[in-house]
């Protein structure tokens, strides 16, 4: 807990978050991909998380 509090203090001391030009340019490139245009099908994302939930549902304690 002490380490967590220290980490939080360190993070707060970093000041306002700034996003680098490189990062923002990378975000724009990702947005511009054909798979991220209007009308793109994103069923695979929903299926992936549904699959993860189903996996957890089947779990049971062995001991």
């Amino acid at each position: 807990m002490a380490a967590l509090a220290e980490a939080e203090r360190w993070l707060r001391a970093q000041g306002p978050v700034t996003l680098s030009a490189d990062y923002l340019a990378a975000v724009e490139r990702l947005e511009s991909l054909e798979q991220n245009q209007n009308g793109a099908c994103k069923d695979w994302v929903v299926r992936f998380f549904a699959g993860r939930r189903d996996l957890g549902r089947g779990a049971f304690r062995v001991r």
Partner: protein, 171 residues
């Protein structure tokens, strides 16, 4: 159709304006499963419009979702008066179906108005339903503006993931 897909469909049919934001929206821009981030809920930004909000609640109830503000059930009666109060307090409401689905209706997005997010939205298809999603650039800028510890950590992780993603995509 999943409960979430059905909810989006219901919201669209009733003309509820909303835009999916947050990590769930960020995941929709990913290219592969290893680029996805774990998240417990789906966040939707709604305008400061009590009528729109009230209709959203009705859709949630029609889909068997329970509504909460914080840990408490959303007050009843769920009427215009209540919607006005929720809007004035900018309170986030959670629509939940047990542990399977949690959708947060939020009325604020750091650094952006609803109009700004709505006007730049992308529309993705999920289970045959058009789902309005915030621009990735707006979501990350909002996280930076919010400046919470979890946002800082997320942005640092996302930057690494993005570099890797684009390196693979661009060969």
């Amino acid at each position: 159709m999943s409960v979430l897909g059905s909810l989006f469909d219901g919201l669209n049919r009733r003309g509820v304006r909303y835009v999916v934001i947050g990590v769930w929206a960020i995941n929709l821009y990913a290219q592969r499963p290893d680029q996805l981030f774990a998240t417990q809920d789906c966040d939707a930004l709604l305008p400061l419009d009590p009528v729109n909000l009230l209709t959203g609640w009705e859709v949630c109830e029609e889909h068997g979702l329970e509504l909460f503000v914080g840990a408490e059930p959303l007050d009843r009666p769920r009427d215009r008066l209540l919607a006005d109060r929720v809007v004035s307090r900018r309170a986030t409401q959670r629509a939940a179906s047990g542990s399977e689905l949690q959708v947060d209706f939020t009325l604020e997005m750091s650094g952006f108005t609803f109009h700004e997010v709505w006007s730049e939205r992308r529309t993705f298809r999920i289970e045959g339903v058009d789902v309005p999603v915030a621009r990735l650039s707006q979501i990350v800028r909002s996280k930076a503006a919010a400046g919470r510890e979890k946002d800082r950590l997320f942005l640092a992780t996302h930057a690494d993931a993005l570099r890797d993603l684009l390196r693979r995509h661009e060969g």
